[in-house]
């Protein structure tokens, strides 16, 4: 089966495969340089891996003077990975080649509170459907990566007290998907995977950055020393419950003034309803009357027409998110903060309010070179990151798959 194609590889071969994975189209020379191998050693190793069908050469040049192909990538024949990105209100599933080229994808709205039974049945169905659309069978899946909007114990792959999805507490996503797929399943927090996705896009060139997702909740993915940082128990980045106002409204976590309770999508929708009811916006009032409620998409739309009340809501939320971020920036001093999630619909006004608040409250040295922008991969960061997780973990655990330990780690019969 595809996932064992490199299980016999030694440490050096795996380093070559991992380096090629992370450098998307490396030349033999670049590879030799990165791994501090001689050119002849790199050439010999690449030749062997090409022979075994683990690598492909791409961009073969016309044979003019005998120059060789410049770039290498993990072989298409290895199979595919499946990435799934579950948010509170939407999900995306994608089938990807080992170099993260998307072969098929599907996005749809969900309500994650429907629980794992309903949601995962749909995810599993979509995975099968998309594979079929690509003419692929389940045994061609190397690994599955999945992001979920809650704290995950990375080793066990289970959610731990997830506030937005209480029914999922302790549920084994791995065991559920194992019934349909023999491939190993890796589960992580959705924002960690966004960070991993952006890290892949950047080919690891930024060692210290953050991805802040503002949607139904607020979470943060952390890249530190060039790796996703998950913390001692996998809950690093749980910034939604940082206090921004001791006298603020009570949050579902039990405390007062959490930034999530005051500035995430539901809080913004609530502010919009209140503004409409107070007669501060004819546009929002009209919309409220016609649909019975307001969403952040309504706020974004009103803002685009210059609605003053909508703009004030966006500025208030941006300012609160910036206030939380100022603490984090003082502590972590990242080079970049990428903002993702539904809030990106809010456009430049939200971003400007976040920036103003951060620059006001953070120390000069922390913000001198700080860039705050919307996440370049936008809505795709999570699903790409899920694919990267699947591929990265498969490549790094190959050694132990060949040995004895992998079954326990991935919780499935990875040795086939």
């Amino acid at each position: 089966m595809p996932s064992t194609r490199w299980s016999h590889c030694g440490t050096e071969d795996l380093s070559v495969l991992q380096t090629i994975f992370w450098s998307a189209g490396a030349s033999r020379n670049a590879l030799a340089q990165r791994l501090a191998y001689s050119k002849s050693k790199a050439n010999a190793m690449v030749a062997a891996l090409l022979d075994e069908g683990l690598l492909d050469e791409v961009g073969l040049q016309e044979s003019s003077g005998g120059r060789r192909a410049e770039t290498l990538r993990l072989s298409e024949t290895l199979g595919v990975v499946i990435g799934a990105d579950l948010g509170a209100t939407s999900m995306q599933v994608a089938i990807m080649r080992p170099d993260m080229t998307v072969l098929a994808r599907h996005r749809e709205p969900i309500d994650v509170r429907q629980g794992p039974g309903v949601i995962l049945a749909r995810v599993r169905g979509l995975m099968r459907e998309l594979l079929a659309r690509c003419g692929l069978a389940a045994h061609q899946v190397i690994a599955i990566g999945m992001g979920v909007p809650g704290p995950v114990d990375f080793e066990s792959g289970q959610l731990v007290n997830p506030p937005l999805m209480p029914d999922w507490d302790g549920f084994s996503i791995r065991d559920y998907l194992r019934e349909a797929f023999a491939a190993p399943v890796f589960v992580d927090n959705d924002v960690n995977l966004m960070a991993l996705g952006e890290m892949y896009r950047l080919q690891r060139n930024l060692p210290n950055f953050l991805v802040i997702k503002v949607g139904t909740g607020i979470g943060c993915g952390i890249v530190c020393h060039g790796q996703v940082y998950r913390g001692a128990n996998g809950s690093a980045g749980d910034v939604g419950h940082i206090c921004v106002d001791q006298h603020g409204p009570r949050c579902h976590c039990g405390n007062q003034g959490c930034v999530e309770a005051m500035a995430a999508a539901p809080a913004m929708a609530r502010m919009a309803i209140e503004a409409a009811q107070r007669g501060e916006s004819a546009l929002l009032a009209e919309r409220l009357q016609s649909t019975g409620t307001l969403t952040i998409e309504d706020v974004a739309q009103a803002s685009r027409t210059g609605d003053v009340a909508a703009n004030a809501i966006i500025q208030r939320a941006g300012s609160l998110v910036g206030q939380m971020l100022a603490s984090i920036v003082n502590f972590f001093n990242p080079s970049h903060v990428f903002i993702a999630g539904r809030v990106t619909d809010m456009g430049p006004l939200f971003l400007a309010s976040v920036r103003q608040s951060v620059y006001h409250r953070s120390l000069a040295l922390s913000t001198r070179h700080l860039e705050i922008q919307y996440a370049p991969l936008a809505d795709d960061a999570g699903v790409v990151g899920a694919g990267v997780l699947a591929m990265q973990e498969s490549l790094s655990r190959a050694g132990s798959v060949a040995g004895a330990g992998a079954g326990a780690v991935v919780g499935t019969g990875a040795v086939r």
Copy 2:
């Protein structure tokens, strides 16, 4: 000169030296295991390094059955490192062997605001005095490590806008000490060095922990993925200006309600003076009258006799530090938080208040296994860390010292 004794070493030899440095008394077998070398390879390398006088064998056993010495350490003959730990109100200088055994040390009160001219003249004098006391000459110094209580640009070794010591802004500590010592000088924030000191004590066994120093200011040293994390511009851990009360008093940084302005030593002393003036503590009032002011040492002493007002001050400061720490714990999910600085005089009551506040405001998953305690190395963490920095940087830059780049990096004639 001693500092070039390993400048000819290749990458593998340096790995052996670094591993022995970090594992304080490693056996040959442990070394082989850590570096994934065969026993025979490790033995051969160790034999060569012993021959060159770079390693010492210690704890030689009686020749009963031919068993060899169990443990190795960096050779005493390599020379010494000097560590200096400058706080806002005190400093410590120590002469240490390459395994961080302290040969001589001196601590004294200072006022860092006197500026680099006064303070560094005293530091330099103390370094010479302590060397003389050990019968050592300046050329036997391998490297100097120094911690300072402000943000440091690690590459240039200069302070950047240090709020507690404005006269030091942009001053080159390296250039100053170069006149007295040929050895390279490495400068870092004092709390980063405390983290490095605790990391050395722990032999790198905790990958993710924090050291919070509460003294004249409040700062945080971060260990992430087993390394000290300095951030994109070297200002990571600047937690003193995290806001804990938007309506709090104005801080010297210009913002309101910074934790440093409300809970560091000067704030506690101010609270004590106010309590004395309000007649809330006969003990504090008496002390105030006799000395004209109050310090946190007075608060600590009053608390030990059960003074209610002193206890309330300690609880309030602990609670505010805990509130700041709760944000950091939610974000970073460390396994341990070690508290250091003058505040440790406050005893168990301060620690209990910090803990209560953190457990109240942080998420369950972040605090499930979290340990909050006073720093085990206490007042010595900074000076040990300064020695570790000096040794670690010397060992890791040896390759480039042998090459061409080091002069630029360390800003001194390191190639001798």
